[in-house]
């Protein structure tokens, strides 16, 4: 893996929820973030990865949080301005991913089309795995000595 160039050491409290909470609080639609009993709630692992990816990249100085904020505002606005029949259900983390992608392309962190290409590779890799259907079930049995 490439050596990661870092600025000053990351804040010691990065891993604490309140830091994430503070960042989230600065985002549009903060009230719309899925929560259960006050805590962030997720339906799928990709939502967590997407959240962690944006926070980690910001933390390592890749972009100011206000830039991500701006992209998220734009993504949500786009959704709101699209007729109901032509857009997907409201899904907070879809906007999140879209904002992150737009930011990444705008800042030149990735070429246009690069994410698309890689996503197709990921999907193909998944299909390959399924085609080679491991998960045939019982793999090994150690019958024990007793």
């Amino acid at each position: 893996m490439a050596e990661c160039r870092r600025g000053p050491d990351r804040p010691p409290d990065l891993t604490e929820r309140r830091v994430v909470e503070r960042l989230l609080g600065e985002l549009p639609g903060a009230g719309a973030i899925p929560r259960k009993e006050g805590e962030l709630s997720f339906e799928s692992p990709w939502q967590i990865r997407a959240l962690a990816l944006a926070v980690a990249a910001h933390d390592q100085g890749r972009f100011p949080w206000s830039d991500f904020q701006g992209q998220l505002i734009a993504a949500i606005r786009d959704w709101e301005q699209t007729p109901a029949g032509e857009r997907g259900e409201w899904e907070y983390y879809h906007h999140w991913v879209r904002a992150l992608e737009a930011l990444v392309v705008d800042t030149g962190m990735a070429e246009p089309g690069e994410i698309d290409r890689r996503a197709v590779e990921e999907i193909k890799a998944g299909e390959h795995r399924r085609a080679h259907s491991h998960g045939s079930g019982l793999l090994a049995v150690d019958r024990g000595g007793g």
Partner: protein, 214 residues
Amino acid sequence: MTTTEQGSPPPVPGTLPAPPEEIAARVKALEAIFIEKGFVTEEAVDKIAEMYEKEVGPHRGAKVVAKAWTDPVFRERLLEDASAACRELGIGGVQGEDMVVVENTEGVHNVIVCTLCSCYPWPTLGLPPNWYKYPAYRSRMVKEPRVVLQDEFGLDLPDSTEIKVWDTSAELRYWVLPERPAGTEGMSEEELASLVTRDSMIGVGLPKQPGSAS
């Protein structure tokens, strides 16, 4: 750089409905690009993600186990069709993943592994722990499960116990129904659920004993 001068519009999920596996693939793609280019380290992403892992499990799996321990009819349904039984409790995958629950009994201990990648029954167990993805776990668990369980996880099973290793995959996600600990007869479902650990549902551990610190 702007995205609009490049000919094609940015390939983003945008406002169009996107199937969940496509979104998941896009996030994976982003992560791969970030890590390859050194924008983030995988560890840094893991560190943040791990704070939230429990939001999608494994407390959900624990709830299912506790119900199976207290409700024999549910237990039968769970062993017969885990996906359907979990749906009864509002627990399900994005799509397509079928869950299979294998039951530990006296004399038989089950453990799951994904030999090819890191398929994992996340609807009930949350995100996989890091070690679950390591090649060493995946290959060694198949070759010498008894040794791995003992050396790496401190799980000392009687010699007479048969160990079954199950290969979990993208469509068929195995997980383990551990044995109900002795001395839990009077406990409520909620109390029982607090004894069920993630490791016990992977099969690299046992449920906590009643009275031990939770």
